[in-house]
Amino acid sequence: MLTSEDFDTLLLTAKVASLATVLMLLIGTPLAWWLARTSSVWKGIINTLVALPLVLPPTVLGFYLLVLMGPAGPIGQLTRWLGLGTLPFTFEGLVIASVLYSLPFVVQPLQASFSAIGAQPLEAAATLRASPLDTFFSVVMPLAKPGFLTATILGFAHTVGEFGVVLMVGGNIPDKTRVVSVQIYNHVEALEYSEAHWLAGGLLLFSFTVLLILYSILKSQPVAHPLK
């Protein structure tokens, strides 16, 4: 069965994933909107940067973050100068790393949704006296609902499932950075296969359920049919 230590890692995982998901939606929404609407020369580069974590080994991302956020890195020096210490092996550092790592899972569905809406509903809203910001909240957000749903669920689930970045940036500190995926690794290392089974099975069930719910909702609500 699960030990109290296991429950702590579950709770921490939920905290990291929730916080990271909120941050990803806050950063990802304007970013995806810009990517969907712009014809700027920067679009290709930004798109590539956002998508990089999809193909990079998590250890590569983790390694660079460790260097950048470490005492000698530019981010590390900045955070120390601000009196915040350094970020690696802290809860905050883990959240920041998770955001960067899972961002494409939030940005890409949003961007696809925004692109599918097209210019026409926006123009209709403008001729009906809605300012661009007003249009975003009253037209774009409701029409992109399936995109937001996909982004939230994939962003959360992917953060829960990360391992390489956590180990590089967060380490293995109880109650601070020890999330479920790391705890499973600990159990296996200690040959505690029964505990590992419980956590691994739980995570498998969680991921399966979440994706099943997502796909059944999306099936009944076809993605982006903004106008007819």
Binding site: Q120, E123, A124, A125, L128, R129, S138, L227
Partner: protein, 358 residues
């Protein structure tokens, strides 16, 4: 004289497409922007709406400047209504929420009476609680027109509102547009490439070609200008405003009056005193030199030739004046020579057929 309440000057260059327009348009009635696709009609409408930015453009509507060297009002600050080719309704809202979307955003209080009137005019009362999915193209377009009108805008812009509908749906909406035309006090700019819609709706006509204004003027004058391709067309016609003065029910006829006389028409289902649009096709009129002594044609009227030209297909196009009205007639070039038709010659016209448009 026409009061020019709309002044528009725009210029745009997209590669090979050069768009350059300098127009003054009347502040009332329906102005139709007519031309083939790619002639720049929609671009002009989008510039007026502010959906398209033309640098160094100028736009004045009813003494308020919407664009000049210093000002460019964003679309959402312009008092306009816009009806798109596709109805462009918000799919996530009901019909009624679509109608209220703009209303909720204007400063002035909602005029319930006017709202009700608009809904009745467009016959959409029974649709208010419906969702957009499942509505027909014609219903969607009527809702889109209502959604623009309830804002009580200073100008209504309509971009080929019938183009995406089949001919049955077109016939369903045209009567609503004609009614609008009679009841609206604001100017309407209406883009189309359909001559039928020009005849039915236009008071003022702007003909566009390759990004430029080819001709513009009041409908009757512009339709009967022989230097324009419209007059050469097989479907060439003249549109007169006529008033019903008498119904001769025993003959199934109605008598109507226009500025230079009266006409007998098949019985019209409208009360005496109604003003109607009468379309007379150029091919349905013939010319005689003297008043016929006995003829089965009821409508024979004196007229004076004001212009005459030949096309390349053995046809002559004659423009005549009856009082203050112009009339186009297509005859063969042989007839023109046999009758020795010249400018200023006094003749008679026999109108064999015509159709009431509203």
């Amino acid at each position: 004289m026409t009061i020019h309440a709309i002044k528009a000057r725009f210029q745009l260059n997209y590669g090979v497409f050069h768009f350059k327009v300098d127009l003054e348009l009347p502040g009332t009635g329906v102005t139709v922007l007519f031309g083939d696709s790619g002639s720049g009609k929609t671009t002009l409408l989008r510039c007026i709406a502010g959906l398209q930015y033309a640098p160094q453009g100028f736009l004045e509507i009813n003494d308020s400047i919407w664009q000049d060297d210093k000002v460019f009002l964003p679309t959402y600050k312009r008092s306009l209504g816009y009806v798109f080719q596709e109805a462009n309704l918000f799919q996530h809202l009901t019909v009624s929420e679509n109608l209220y979307y703009g209303l909720k955003r204007i400063k002035s209080s909602i005029n319930n009476f006017q709202f009700q009137q608009t809904i009745e005019l467009l016959g959409i009362e029974h649709l208010l609680t419906r969702r957009i999915e499942g509505l027909s193209g014609g219903e969607r377009q009527r809702i889109a027109i209502a959604r623009a009108l309830v804002l009580n805008p200073d100008i209504l812009l309509m971009d080929e509102p019938l183009a995406s509908l089949d001919s049955k749906r077109k016939q369903e909406i045209l009567p609503f547009l004609s009614r609008l035309h009679q009841q609206l006090a604001i100017p309407v700019l209406y883009v189309t490439h359909s001559q039928q819609e020009v005849a039915q709706l236009a008071d003022y006509l702007v003909i566009m070609e390759q990004g430029q204004v080819f001709a513009s003027g009041p409908l009757a004058t512009t339709l009967s200008r022989l230097d324009l391709p419209l007059a050469m067309d097989k479907q060439a016609s003249t549109v007169w405003l006529v008033t019903i003065i008498e119904h001769e029910t025993e003959y199934q006829l109605s008598r109507v009056e226009f500025s230079a006389g009266t006409l007998s028409l098949p019985l019209i289902d409208a009360p005496i005193g109604s003003t109607l649009r009468l379309q007379i096709y150029a091919r349905d009129v013939s010319i005689v030199l003297e008043a016929p002594y006995a003829t089965s044609i009821l409508n024979v009227l004196p007229a004076t030739i004001t212009d005459i030209t030949d096309d390349n297909n053995g046809q002559s196009i004659v423009c005549l004046q009856l009082g203050s009205q112009s009339l186009l007639v297509h005859i063969t070039r042989k007839s023109r020579q046999l009758l020795n038709l010249q400018i200023n010659k006094a003749v008679y016209v026999q109108i064999k057929g015509s159709s009431i448009l509203n």
